[in-house]
Symmetry: C2
Subunit: 428 residues, 2 copies
């Protein structure tokens, strides 16, 4: 670090997700020193997590090392570290790798699974927010099929082959569709003996429709497409509890299952609440329209953890496009502040939304354009390939998709490493 | 399972490694019912484990689901199960999925890392026999580089960037060479700031030469090639202990390191010794030349766990070709026994041996032909691609190798899932 650099303002960015990465890139040419922190050494492409969870993709195909992404950015230093807390008044972050002082802070800590205080659901259900979640689900599903193949008691076998997904948003819809396809592939290719036992995939939605962010007709199309895949969609049903064996619904009904995937809620990462900032619903911090944190103009908070109302008066959704646009905007405002210029309010431009329901089926709303079916599915494939970071990952994902599509197979049906094989004391 | 089938003799094969898989395939057309057991749902291509350990390949690229491999074999049933013990007199196996009776048993349980009773080495060093081992090493190495980037004390940083590999056989040689290449790639691409600190890779060999199974000159060539990669090869040095921070050598010298990869010993899987069979050195069971277990003619024992002397009077090595040929032979003898024919002795035909020392460098002995350097390396690539099972894996491995080779990169530099992210109680 030479003299000249040390005199530049120090920008610390927490989180290498969609928001943090965009902010870092937007500051590439700026006269600042950037330190980017993340507790993982990779950027995770969350939209495809459900495909790792259903053995369609390999974990490393949707994770790209942060250093590889930002290699050419001269004014940035990456640190593998976990933020423990902060003294915002002193402009200091506390991490597991020591403390760190900043002139400007961009918090892009993202969101975590939210089970609304249901401890048993948090303990027994699977979230779908991290690579660990996805690999745990994949291994769990593949183990259940193996157990079912050795289970002779019909009731127990039925429970093993019953998969419940909670939440009718894009994640829940895509996950339910993908589990149904995995089940078909595995049962017909690997376990023909089990084919007599139809797997049961149940998608629970508390409201009366799927994909609320999409047009009514796309929601109906999705229900139809899921039904064709054998997914049983139930509206107006909410989970009351889950002990790892039986899901209790609010209406008193019960479902015997070994699998509950919880895609029904996200909240701000605990780190944010730990900073002692005034937070609203879902632990999101109320930020100024400029994305600054009240009382701390040098701190910008973006993405899932930021509570900001859109033009329709409703809080902006916890989705990648919001985080990315806020990353760009926070970077711009930060530079304006450094130059003593006025801060500008953030305005969200909705690029649209899409969800796939597996093979040949998807729904998309891109601006005024609505797509359903095969064309929407093709658009989904193209958009996601282009959004993926890293040529190697794009190539590998395309090949795995081609393989899965043409061979009616799932590329990664391996119950792989997930926890340490035996206790070993690490240097790290 | 129909009447006709149930009257057929029941063959149980334990282990879906090289030996067990070959035995299963050799019995594909035979009038027997086969049950194949493995505690993993995949066949592991162990020869490439070191490439997963050094971020060159993805774990699922060298693991192929057993069901996918044997899908078309009508007379075989696969069970994901772990053998706990056996009552050989009653012809019964005890597994974690219940007990299982057999008419013929083929034990192909393979080998495990052997630290010769050094508990501290077993606890702190990494073996390289399972997918879990390889992923643990990969994550560990990548973490150390990240720590080194944040470590200012030269001595501590030196220890973080010192990597010790014990064992001068193919595994140790290949692992040391690959760690050296990973270090070069990571340091020059990801951590240029660290480039001043040369990583230290030390290969320890108790004897006076590398690759004892190869011609003298290939051993010398290998030492030279490793030296060019910056690997410090030390002969006549054996490990006395390791506490996770300091390796103690028998001659009293010490090496400060956070990484000891143990490629210096293999022994028969504990299962074998648990069966109460008379075992010799390395826990290997002395089998008859027919591969039968003394006193139990219906039990065949093959591969790493079988102790059988070759024509040179020395025990056959613990390598894949021995296991595969014994798999074929055990299947043949089993069918002869079923037909009341005499058992035939096993004869090993050595197909040769090869080891790669990374980029463009390898040594090979194929019958009378000796290869060194680029040609040997090319032969190594071709042979390993063809030995890999599964078109998807072959394609993906070739692509990752091309990527690593052409881009001077390592495809899978992700500190990925390894243990469960948070405690979750499983159905399984």
């Amino acid at each position: 670090m030479n003299e000249n650099q040390t005199t530049l303002p120090h920008v610390v960015i927490v989180g290498a997700g969609f928001g943090g990465l965009r902010a870092a890139r937007a500051l590439a040419k700026a006269p600042v020193r950037i330190t980017l922190l993340d507790r993982n050494n990779y950027h995770l492409f969350q939209p495809l997590l459900y495909q790792v969870a259903t053995a369609g993709l390999s974990p490393d195909e949707i994770a790209q090392p942060v250093r590889a992404i930002l290699r050419s950015q001269r004014n940035l230093e990456f640190r593998l570290a976990e933020v423990r807390g902060a003294d915002l008044a002193a402009r200091r972050l506390d991490t597991d790798q020591g403390s760190l002082e900043y002139d400007y802070l961009i918090l892009a800590a993202g969101g975590v699974t939210n089970t609304f205080g249901m401890q048993d659901v948090a303990r027994h259900a699977f979230g779908l927010k991290s690579l660990e979640d996805a690999v745990a689900i994949r291994n769990h599903l593949l183990r259940l099929f193996e157990q079912a193949a050795q289970e002779n008691a019909p009731a127990r076998r039925k429970a093993l082959l019953t998969f419940v997904v909670a939440g009718g948003g894009p994640t829940g819809v895509e996950c339910a569709g993908a589990i149904s396809e995995l089940a078909q592939v595995v049962l017909h290719k690997d376990l023909p003996g089990l084919a007599i036992q139809r797997p049961q995939i149940i998608l629970l939605e508390a409201a009366q429709r799927l994909l609320p962010a999409m047009p009514e007709r796309s929601g109906e199309f999705t229900v139809q497409a899921l039904a064709e895949k054998g997914v049983d969609v139930r509206f107006g049903t909410a989970v009351a509890g889950y002990d790892g064996r039986v899901v209790r619904l609010k209406d008193g009904e019960t479902l015997a299952t070994h699998t509950l995937v919880w895609a029904a809620g996200v909240e701000a990462a605990p780190l944010i609440t730990a900073l002692g900032l005034q937070s609203g619903s879902l632990g999101r911090v109320h930020v100024l329209p400029t994305l600054q944190v009240p009382e701390h103009p040098e701190v910008y908070l973006i993405g899932d953890a930021a509570h900001l109302e859109g033009e329709d008066g409703r809080p902006l959704p916890m989705v990648a496009p919001v985080a990315m646009q806020q990353g760009d905007h926070a970077a711009r405002n930060l530079l304006r502040a450094a130059e003593g210029l006025a801060q500008q309010p953030f305005r969200y431009r909705d690029p649209g939304i899409m969800a796939t329901i597996g093979r040949n089926r998807a729904v998309a709303k891109l601006g005024p354009v609505e797509l359903r079916g095969w064309f929407a599915w093709l658009a989904w494939v193209v958009v996601h390939i282009f959004q993926l970071i890293g040529f190697r990952n794009r190539m590998m994902v395309l090949l795995d998709w081609a393989w899965n599509y043409l061979v009616y197979d799932r590329a990664v049906r391996v119950i792989g490493p997930e926890r340490r094989a035996r206790t070993k004391e690490y240097a790290s």
